[in-house]
């Protein structure tokens, strides 16, 4: 049988990796909280554009923040998360269908869905996605006065076929809900992992807090989704989303962009 202990570098690295995974999950969760909050302002196109302008006023630091605070934590967490999901475990939710086991299993399913969703999400709309490879046809996110319209197109109409559009719209809902559950439940398990909640009673109390937080996130996330997928208008005149007063020619230009 293998030996275990904390006296070898390999064992200490294992401990560190698990804790880094947890910490990176929390860092990425903080981003998701802001992300869904900003996206929920998509109900008000002008406010959404202003928020995006705000974020982009961080240029030229923005790429650094994106890499350091979003992409690196996300990749570390996702890659190790997939490993954890497999690491010799044996799911038994059908046999022992207790609440905790259902959450445990859903946490892993949500993780797998999130890998697929985030990969699609970034590949299709981010400047470092497929656009970088010169792949055409996906409505890339356009922060310059077109933030609202380009997001609606990303969530609603990347394809010509109506059926494909519906699939994408629901994939966005599935991705958002998975993120909300995974994040609220992760907040709950992280408190046990780090030793914040050390009794069954405190875990239950903290569970109520996480549940409340999850409901807030659910409302924000679903609002964000609905703002773009349901009420979104991909052809809204730029004059209604920008505060920077464009010339008419430029407006025609961006409106004809589609």
């Amino acid at each position: 049988m293998t030996k275990f202990g904390f006296d070898t570098i390999a064992e200490q690295r294992h401990f560190l990796l698990r804790r880094i995974h947890s910490l990176m999950g929390l860092v990425f969760g903080a981003y998701i909280t802001m992300h869904l909050f900003v996206n929920a302002t998509g109900l008000w196109p002008k406010a959404y554009q202003q928020n995006v302008d705000h974020i982009h006023s961080l240029e030229p630091m923005l790429p650094l923040i994106e890499i350091g605070a979003i992409f690196v934590p996300m990749l570390l967490h996702a890659i190790y998360g997939i490993y954890i999901t497999k690491a010799g475990v044996k799911y038994n939710m059908m046999k022992y269908n207790y609440g905790g086991n259902i959450r445990y299993t859903m946490q892993r399913w949500a993780g797998v869905i999130l890998v697929l969703f985030v990969a699609y999400h970034i590949a299709t709309l981010h400047k470092w996605g497929l656009a970088l490879l010169g792949v055409q046809g996906f409505p890339k996110f356009d922060a310059q006065n077109m933030a609202y319209q380009s997001t609606v197109r990303a969530v609603r109409s990347p394809y010509r076929s109506q059926l494909a559009n519906i699939a994408v719209i629901f994939f966005y809902l599935l991705g958002t809900w998975s993120a909300v559950f995974h994040w609220a439940n992760g907040l709950w398990t992280a408190a046990i992992a780090w030793g914040l909640t050390t009794t069954a009673a405190s875990q239950k109390r903290w569970g109520h807090v996480c549940c409340g937080f999850g409901i807030v996130m659910l409302v924000l996330g679903t609002t964000a989704w609905a703002a773009f997928a349901i009420v979104g208008n991909p052809d809204l005149p730029v004059s209604q989303t920008t505060t920077s007063g464009l010339g008419q020619a430029q407006m025609n230009d961006v409106n004809g962009h589609r």
């Binding site: 202990g5 207790y98 905790g100 992992a193 009794t199």
Partner: protein, 271 residues
């Protein structure tokens, strides 16, 4: 209504005397393929699974009348304190000596009750039939020094006093009988990894809270901070649901997480 007076003749019993049918997953040798056999035992009131297995042992004939080898099983205490009779009964891991037949049948009313499905635990190697090899649990107990260091060359006098609150907490954890239910139900504990499971976290807490046990506290803690240790718990919390001794395993897991966090920080800065 109750069957308190079991000397009464069966016809006055409120339960219809359908025979007790067990479907048992058997295995002749550790490396042999498992197979299923059905047994039918005449009904008697107040039986438990172990006493049905005893009947099968005294007359090893299957339900269709074939003579077979007796079904092997473990049972040492017959009162849910040794853990040796742990097996999977109707899909749930539990002690054969504490699963009563009558309550299982009471739900069926006047219909013939379905067979009771009996399997050996799935997370430990099968030795024969329902007997499994729980060496992994005992090896893990050795690794965490699951004992109090009281041996010496001279008489050390009386041990330190333990305050009543700590006594209460220790008592809860002291009831662990190494049955392995918590491990059988844990999705993270499998034959394919080295996870130690909830029982070990509870025993580390148990011995580390004891004033005498504290001499080995750091070693015990470090034994559960590597691969297979506390970081590998996925918080499914099945363990606490199936523990027959109601051990507060969630408290032990939370305690271990905090102790590991503190110990790692201490070690980083001062070792």
């Amino acid at each position: 209504m109750t069957t308190a007076d079991s000397t009464k003749t069966p016809p006055t019993s409120p339960l219809p005397p359908f025979p007790i049918v067990l479907r048992i997953k058997r295995q002749d040798r550790p490396d042999a393929a498992p197979y299923w056999q059905t047994f039918s035992v005449p009904y008697r009131p107040n039986m438990n699974v172990t006493s049905v297995l005893q009947q099968i042992q005294s007359n090893p004939v299957t339900a269709n009348g074939e003579k077979t080898s007796p079904v092997n099983y473990d049972a040492a205490c017959l009162e849910e304190v040794c853990g040796s009779c742990t097996m999977i009964i109707n899909g749930k891991v539990q002690q054969a000596c504490s699963v009563l037949i009558d309550p299982l049948r009471a739900k069926c009313g006047n219909a013939p009750p379905p067979p009771i499905i009996i399997e050996p635990m799935s997370k430990f190697p099968v030795i024969r039939d329902l007997i499994v090899d729980r060496t992994r649990m005992f090896e893990n107990l050795k690794r965490i020094k699951g004992w109090l260091p009281i041996d010496g060359y001279y008489h050390r006098g009386p041990g330190p006093k333990v305050d009543p609150q700590t006594q209460d907490e220790l008592y809860d954890m002291s009831r662990c009988m190494t049955c392995g239910c918590c491990l059988e139900a844990c999705p993270q504990f499998t034959k394919a990894n080295t996870f130690v499971g909830a029982q070990i976290f509870s025993q580390v807490k148990y011995f580390n809270l004891h004033p005498t046990g504290q001499a080995d506290a750091d070693e015990r803690l470090e034994a559960i901070m590597g691969e297979g240790g506390i970081t590998d718990c996925g918080n499914a919390q099945n363990c606490v649901k199936v523990c027959p001794k109601d051990i507060p395993l969630l408290d032990s897991i939370g305690w271990s997480g905090r102790a590991a966090t503190i110990h790692s920080i201490k070690k980083f800065f001062s070792k």
